[in-house]
C-alpha cells in the first residue's frame, strides 16, 4: 500500500545511502524547501485564478478564460509580467525596511504552510505544538505590512498599515481562542494528532454547539486576519487607493498579493484540519487509499476558500471602528464564554462520538 510516508521514506533512505550524512541532510532540506516553494507558488497562482473566476461568476461576467485551458495559465502569465516589471519606489522611502517588508509577509505564510498536514505523514515538520506555532508565525506577517506601510513614506500606505496592525492584533485573539476551544476536545496541539482524534467524527460534530460557534468565530476572525473583504481595511481601495502596498510595484507587489492568497489558503486549511477532519474522508469511505487524503484535504480547504470568496464578493466593507467593536465587544466575550461551555461539555462527556 502506498502511503505518503512510504514515498518520503524511500527518498530519505536513498539520499542517506548515496551521500554522506551532512550533505544528504542539506540536500533533503533544499528539496523540501523547493517542494514547498512549488506548492506555494502553484497554490497562490491557482487561488488568484479561482478568485477571479468566482468573482466573475458572482458578477455576471465570464472571467479570464483565454490563456491556457479555461484560463489556467492566466495567472502564470500575470506573474511573468510582474517579474519583468521595473521595481519602482519612492525616493524618500526607508530603503532597507521598504525592501525587507514583502519578505516578512511571504516568509510568515511560507512557514505556516510547513506544518499543514496535506495527508497522513505529508507535512514538512509535525511538531507537537503545531497550532501554537501557526498562531505565532502568522502574526509575523503583520510586521511586514506595518513596515511596508510605514517605510514607503506615503500617508495612504501609513493609514492602511496602521489599520491592518490594529485589526490583525485584535483578531488574533479570536483566532487563538477559537482554536483553543477545539484543543479542549483534542487534548493535543499537534495537528496530525488532532486529525487522528477526529476518526470518531469530525470535531465540528463531536463538539456540536460550541464547536459550531468556534468555527463561525474562526472564519470571521480568519477573514479579518487575512485582510480580506469585508475586513479589507488595510487596502480599502475606495478609501485609501491601495492601502499599505500603494508604493510597491512589480514582484514586490506580487509577494504581498500572493501572500494574501496563501494566508487565505492557510486559514481555510486550519479550519479544514481542526473542524472538518483534515485528510479524513467522510465516514471513512476511502480509508483504504491513504493518498486520497490529499484530495479530501484540498476539497475541504477549497470549499472554505470559496466561502471566504463568497464573503468578499457579497458584503460591503465594515468601517474601522465597527471592525474593532465587532471583535472586542462581541467576538471576544462570546469566545470566552464558549470556551467555558466547551470545557463543561468535555468535562461532562457530552461530546458526540461515533
Amino acid at each position: 500500500m502506498t502511503t505518503a510516508l512510504s514515498i518520503t521514506k524511500n527518498i530519505h533512505d536513498w539520499l542517506f545511502s548515496t551521500m554522506p550524512e551532512g550533505v544528504a541532510s542539506i540536500v533533503e532540506m533544499t528539496l523540501i524547501a523547493l517542494v514547498y516553494l512549488g506548492i506555494f507558488s502553484v497554490a497562490g497562482l491557482f487561488l488568484v485564478l479561482m478568485e477571479r473566476r468566482v468573482a466573475a461568476w458572482f458578477q455576471l461576467r465570464i472571467g479570464p478564460n483565454r490563456v491556457g485551458f479555461q484560463g489556467l495559465l492566466q495567472t502564470m502569465a500575470d506573474a511573468l509580467k510582474l517579474l519583468s516589471k521595473e521595481l519602482t519606489g519612492t525616493v524618500k522611502a526607508d530603503k532597507f525596511l521598504y525592501n525587507l517588508a514583502p519578505y516578512f509577509v511571504i516568509i510568515s505564510s511560507l512557514m505556516a504552510l510547513a506544518v499543514i498536514p496535506f495527508t497522513k505523514d505529508f507535512h514538512a515538520f509535525d511538531i507537537n505544538i503545531g497550532i501554537f506555532f501557526l498562531i505565532a508565525i502568522s502574526s509575523i506577517g503583520v510586521i511586514g505590512i506595518l513596515l511596508g506601510g510605514w517605510s514607503s513614506n506615503n500617508k495612504f500606505a501609513l493609514i492602511g498599515a496602521m489599520r491592518s496592525g490594529v485589526q490583525t492584533i485584535s483578531y488574533e485573539l479570536s483566532i487563538g481562542l477559537s482554536l483553543l476551544t477545539m484543543v479542549l476536545i483534542t487534548e493535543t496541539l499537534q495537528l496530525s494528532e488532532i486529525v487522528e482524534v477526529q476518526k470518531n467524527g469530525w470535531l465540528i460534530v463531536q463538539g456540536h454547539i460550541p464547536a459550531i460557534i468556534a468555527f463561525m468565530i474562526f472564519m470571521i476572525a480568519g477573514t479579518a486576519e487575512t485582510n480580506r473583504a469585508p475586513f479589507d481595511m488595510a487596502e480599502a481601495e475606495s478609501e485609501l487607493g491601495a492601502g499599505f502596498h500603494t508604493e510597491y510595484s512589480g514582484m514586490k507587489f506580487a509577494y504581498f498579493f500572493l501572500a494574501e492568497f496563501i494566508n487565505m489558503f492557510i486559514i481555510a486549511a486550519i479550519a479544514a484540519t481542526v473542524f472538518f477532519g483534515g485528510w479524513l474522508s467522510p465516514f471513512g469511505i476511502t480509508e483504504s487509499i491513504p493518498l486520497l487524503g490529499v484530495f479530501w484535504f484540498l476539497a475541504k480547504t477549497l470549499t472554505l476558500v470559496f466561502l471566504m470568496m463568497w464573503f468578499r464578493w457579497t458584503f460591503p466593507r465594515l468601517r474601522v471602528d465597527q471592525l474593532l467593536t465587532l471583535e472586542w465587544k462581541y467576538l471576544l466575550p462570546i469566545n470566552l464564554v464558549n470556551i467555558v461551555i466547551m470545557a463543561a461539555v468535555v468535562w461532562l462527556n457530552l461530546t458526540i462520538n461515533f
Binding site: A55, P316, D321
Partner: protein
C-alpha cells in the same frame, strides 16, 4: 499645524492628505484636501478646476443648436435632461408650440435617463462601501437603457436627441416594445438591488446616522434633488414646475426626513420606482404627430432674459440666458446641481471617519464635469 499634547513623550498632530484628483472614490478629477486627525475628518476642502472647459463661455460663441451639444458634456449621466433644459429655454423664448408627441417622448427618455443614471450611481455606491459586485448588477440594467438610446438616436451616452423645436428624429419602430421589455425586466431586478445591498446589515450600519444634513442646512446650502429630498425638503421641479408631459402623470415625490446617507440612498431607489411608473403611464399612449416643429436655420432669441429649470438625476438644473437678439446668447449661466451639493460636503463629513466620507460622497452622487463645466 495644531498640536495637542497627550503626554510629555507623544504628540498627536493633524495631517493633510490629498484625496484625488486620481482617487477611486472621487469618481473623476475632483481633489479633496482632507485634514485628518488619525482616522477622523477635521476638514474637507474641495479643490475644483481639473476638468474646467469653459462651457459657459463657449456658449456665448455658439448658436443655440450647438449649445445643446455642449450640455451633454456637463452632467454626462443625465445628458438627455440637460439637452431638454436648453431646448425648453429656447422654445420658451421663441414661444414655440411643441407637439404633444415630442413632449411625451421627451419625458419618457428623460425618465429612462434618470433610471440609467441612478443604476450607475447604485453600482458605484456599492463599490464605494466595498461591495464590488453591485457595480455589475447596476450596469446590467443600465445596458438595456443604453441599447434603447442607441437604437433611438445612435448614441449611448451623449445623446443630442433634443433640438430646439422638437426631436432630431422620430422614435425607432421598436422603441415602445423595447421600453416595455425593459419595464418588465427592471421590475424584477430592482428588488434584487434591495436584497444585495439595502438589506445588508453591514451596509445599513455604514450608512444610517452618517453624514446627517438637516432640512435647514439643505435649504441654505442650495441643495437640490435627492440630496435635499432626503432631508425632508420637498423640491422636485417635476412636481412644482412641471415641464414637457410631466403635468399629466401621477407620481409620488420620494421624500425622507432622516437626512443621513441611508436616506439619500433610499430616496434614489424610490425614485427609480417612480420613474418606472412615469414611463409606464406614458409609453402606451404616445400621441401621433410631428416629431419636430420647423424653426429658422439660425435661431435668434428675442431680446431679454429667460430661465428654465428641470430636474436632472442629480437635482435642479437651471439654464439662464441673456439674449441681445443675436444668434448666440450674450451670457448663459447653468445652475448645476452638483456644485451646490458638493458645497455641503465639508459640513456633513466633518467628524466622521474616512470610510464615512467615502460613503457620504457616494450618496451626493457627484459628476465632476457637472461641477466644473
Amino acid at each position: 499645524m495644531e498640536t495637542t499634547t497627550v503626554n510629555s513623550n507623544f504628540k498627536s498632530e493633524k495631517y493633510q492628505i490629498n484625496m484625488g484628483p486620481q482617487h477611486p472614490a472621487t469618481h473623476g478629477v475632483l481633489n479633496l484636501l482632507l485634514t485628518i486627525d488619525g482616522e477622523i475628518i477635521k476638514k474637507v476642502e474641495p479643490d475644483l478646476g481639473y476638468i474646467h472647459r469653459s462651457i459657459e463661455k463657449m456658449c456665448e460663441r455658439d448658436s443655440y443648436q450647438q449649445i445643446v451639444h455642449l450640455t451633454d458634456r456637463m452632467d454626462y449621466l443625465s445628458s438627455n435632461i440637460n439637452n431638454e433644459a436648453v431646448c425648453l429655454t429656447v422654445e420658451k423664448a421663441l414661444q414655440l408650440a411643441i407637439p404633444e408627441r415630442v413632449k411625451v417622448i421627451r419625458t419618457i427618455i428623460g425618465e429612462l435617463t434618470r433610471i440609467s443614471s441612478h443604476c450607475l450611481w447604485w453600482g458605484v455606491m456599492g463599490m464605494d462601501v466595498g461591495a464590488l459586485t453591485t457595480y455589475f448588477y447596476g450596469f446590467r440594467d443600465r445596458e438595456m437603457i443604453n441599447d434603447i438610446m442607441e437604437e433611438t438616436c445612435g448614441a449611448r451616452l451623449t445623446m443630442n436627441y433634443n433640438v430646439p423645436g422638437g426631436l432630431m428624429f422620430d422614435i425607432h419602430p421598436n422603441f415602445v416594445k423595447r421600453v416595455k421589455d425593459f419595464i418588465a425586466h427592471f421590475k424584477t431586478k430592482l428588488p434584487e438591488f434591495d436584497t444585495l445591498l439595502t438589506e445588508n446589515i453591514i451596509f445599513q450600519k455604514r450608512t444610517k446616522g452618517i453624514g446627517i444634513l438637516t432640512r435647514e442646512d439643505a435649504i441654505s446650502f442650495g441643495a437640490s434633488g435627492p440630496v435635499a429630498r432626503a432631508s425632508g425638503y420637498s423640491c422636485d421641479v417635476r412636481k412644482y414646475h412641471p415641464y414637457s408631459a410631466l403635468d399629466r402623470v401621477t407620481f409620488k415625490e420620494a421624500l425622507r426626513t432622516e437626512g443621513d446617507t441611508f436616506a439619500r440612498y433610499s430616496v434614489r431607489i424610490q425614485e427609480m420606482w417612480e420613474s418606472l411608473s412615469i414611463v409606464e403611464q406614458l409609453i402606451d399612449n404616445i400621441p401621433e404627430g410631428e416629431h419636430r416643429v420647423k424653426t429658422n436655420a439660425v435661431i435668434k432669441l428675442p431680446k431679454g432674459e429667460f430661465y428654465q429649470k428641470v430636474e436632472t438625476a442629480r437635482g435642479e438644473l437651471g439654464v439662464y440666458v441673456i439674449s441681445t437678439g443675436t444668434k448666440s446668447p450674450y451670457r448663459l449661466k447653468f445652475r448645476s446641481p452638483g456644485f451646490s451639493n458638493l458645497s455641503l460636503l465639508n459640513h456633513i463629513a466633518v467628524g466622521g471617519k474616512i470610510g464615512d466620507l467615502v460613503a457620504t460622497m457616494a450618496t451626493l452622487d457627484l459628476v465632476i464635469p457637472d461641477i466644473d463645466r
